[in-house]
């Protein structure tokens, strides 16, 4: 009995200890990540990439720096995740220390948490394996780098420092301000699995780029060439976890942040490369400070009524409205868009309408219920480049006309009514006449 008491007391203590941990992670109401684990293969990265880390800290992130082979590494304790985000700047690490491995990182992303992964001029099999889980294929040749003889930075003699400006056109991923200066990149190439719908190239190489060893002659055509080479890619999983995969760790370094850039063949000389703006905006997206949508109430009712009916009749006129909010990094703001659509769906959509918005977060439309009866669903399936996916549905049955809801006294039937009544009237008159005629 004493043992049981001790056990329950210790369980209570442990859960008390866990409570503060729980309140400091991201939640449905506050989707921005808080605690981020940063794995480095060399602690000097803390200073060589200090600008990037300090911009993260200034936005309120709690960074925990650890060496990649630290034996006390753990992402979870007692079944709860300790971190909301993970940054792996350890391109040459072959094995993580502690409880981390490729599978635990895959589980981390599966739980809805975010990841920034970067390779560099070398990428270990471990890093390649994690990238492969996310649909990203690094060049198999471990000595290959991205070379571009037309799109390199003039300060580089080797043509391996790429000045890339083929950015994805997305305000939500890269911010509203256009990145004017090219982004400097030196590292390995990767390509995306063409059948994977969840990955996206954020920074692509130019058509003259190729992935090869710069110090040896090519004996066979390279596997990766042209715009098929992705320099930085992102993936948004179906559970809205976001992953950024970069082929260059130097892209995030202070040296390239501060460096000026002039692209070969272009007269424009920029004082500062686009790297800092690119890395900052991308980190805002990956840690859910932007592009995270939430749906409020989904309301439908007949025109003229306010309550939601339990069942609709065919050919009823109904009104549908839904509230969508967007996380601004600090608060929920109304979402404004003109491409949100609702489906009235039973096995296939019978009605698909674009919702109009009052710009305050409410989206509404109205339509007539189809003349097919059954159990329908109001479905909002919203997928937009860079935004979290919305998948809402509400079920509602639809019944046919009751026997007394049909049309009555149709004009076409007047002759038949006439026939009926004249017969009755004739009989009535006849009964009088026949009996009392003399």
């Amino acid at each position: 009995e004493a043992n049981m008491m001790n056990l329950s007391r210790s369980v209570a203590l442990i859960s008390l200890f866990l409570l503060p941990l729980l309140s400091f992670s991201f939640s449905v109401d506050n989707p921005t990540d808080r605690r981020v684990l940063v794995l480095l293969d060399d602690l000097s990265l803390k200073s060589s990439h200090s600008i990037f880390f300090s911009t993260l800290k200034s936005r309120g992130f709690d960074l925990d720096f650890k060496l990649a082979d630290d034996s006390k590494l753990a992402l979870q304790r007692y079944g709860q995740y300790l971190y909301d985000g993970l940054i792996i700047f350890a391109p040459s690490t072959e094995r993580f220390g502690g409880a981390l491995d490729s599978k635990s990182i895959a589980d981390f992303v599966d739980s809805g948490r975010d990841l920034i992964l970067s390779a560099d001029t070398s990428a270990s099999d471990l890093i390649r394996g994690i990238a492969l889980e996310c649909g990203v294929d690094f060049d198999e040749d471990s000595s290959a780098m991205v070379i571009d003889h037309s799109s390199f930075s003039l300060s580089d003699g080797d043509h391996t420092l790429i000045a890339a400006d083929d950015l994805v056109k997305s305000d939500v991923i890269l911010g509203k301000t256009k990145i004017e200066a090219p982004v400097l990149f030196r590292g390995v190439a990767h390509s995306l699995n063409p059948t994977n719908n969840l990955v996206l190239k954020v920074l692509s190489a130019s058509p003259s780029a190729y992935s090869a060893n710069p110090s040896s002659k090519l004996s066979s055509p390279p596997q990766l060439t042209g715009s098929a080479i992705s320099l930085v890619s992102v993936m948004q999983a179906r559970n809205n976890a976001r992953v950024v995969i970069s082929g260059s760790l130097q892209l995030f370094s202070d040296r390239l942040f501060r460096s000026g850039v002039q692209k070969a063949g272009s007269p424009n000389k920029y004082e500062k490369s686009g790297n800092e703006q690119f890395a900052t905006e991308l980190s805002k997206w990956v840690f859910h400070e932007r592009g995270h949508l939430k749906a409020g109430s989904l309301v439908h009712h007949r025109v003229g009524e306010t309550d939601e009916p339990a069942i609709y009749r065919i050919k009823d006129d109904l009104e549908f409205s839904v509230e969508i909010l967007e996380w601004s990094g600090r608060s929920w703001e109304p979402y404004v868009a003109d491409d949100l659509q609702v489906q009235f769906y039973m096995m296939s959509p019978y009605v698909l309408k674009t919702l109009s918005t009052d710009k305050k977060g409410m989206f509404h439309t109205s339509f007539k219920v189809p003349d097919v009866y059954g159990v329908f669903q109001f479905k909002v399936e919203y997928e937009k480049l860079g935004y979290t996916t919305l998948s809402l549905s509400k079920q509602i049955p639809v019944r046919p006309y009751r026997h007394n809801e049909y049309e009555r006294f149709i004009p076409t039937a007047y002759p038949y009514y006439g026939a009926c009544f004249t017969t009755m009237a004739g009989f009535f008159v006849f009964s009088f006449v026949y009996l009392y005629h003399k």
Binding site: L192, A212, A228, Q341
Partner: protein, 349 residues
Amino acid sequence: MLAVKVSTVLGSKTAALNVKLAQALSSGSKGSVINNQELKFDADSATYFLDSFPENFDVGKYTFVFEILLDESAQEKLYITEAQTKIPIAATGAISIENAEIAVLDGDVGSVESQKKLDLTKDGAVSLSANHLQKLRLSYQLNTPLGHVFKPHQAFLKLKHESQVEHIFLVKTSGKKSELVLDFLGLVEKLYYLSGKYEIQLTIGDASMENSLLSNIGHIELDLPERPEKAAQPPVQPTDPYSRYGPKAEISHIFRVPEKLPAKQLSLVFLGLIVLPFIAFLIGLTRLGVNIKSFPSSVGAATSALLFHGGIGAVLNIKALSLLGVFLSFVGHSTLSHLASASNKLKSA
């Protein structure tokens, strides 16, 4: 001009030194182009420089070997870290491209079927056609400013099919010129038996080449045999991400059109036609001179007669049918029997 800065380990200025470029080893050839060239010191910028290179210093990759010696006038307490410092240098220059041409050759004989000269500094609009029995030949000459043959690191010919499937071939340089011959007979399987329009793109580049280029030469219409069943399928191409996420086309339900009914006027006309016989009946009755004289005069009989006819009217109204039916049978019997007895009386009397 080559400028070299020498500093102490901590980065500060040094005393007078003697900096010499001992060798400039080219990656391609043996032997050094420059030997023991002393660099001059420029006090204003504190650099050692070499302002002219020998005439045979060509474009390409070199390893410069520097030797630093202490000047005689220097003090004894200075030490030099390395005897020789090797630095990789890429000497860049504009490479000339001459005699660029593309041709379609006939089968084994190798005779030229069509040949076009190319200007690789800009995109062209060459239009060729070939079948699987022919060959495609691309040739050009790359020369350094000093006239030597230049072998670039990157020399790709890319054939891109309408379906976005791409194939890359290396253009090899041997002897005086660079040439690529594509024998379509042997390439049919590699090209996945895809016939159609292929865009031709040539990319030439090197770290020492200042004028690396990418030229869209034109296109070639390839006629390849049909794909046999066991041949490999061309790889899946990625979908355009911008079109992946667009809004879907709107669907509005087409309601079942009710059967077409005749016009209202037509129905009214027929109503009139139906009522006509009834009116004719009434007119006919009056013409016949019907009357209702033998309506019973006594109160009891009269009321039951009225109720009888009222009951018929009510029945015709089809309400409370069953009760009426019962009621009607009683009342009817009484009236009719009364009538029958009345007529019996008449008959007997």
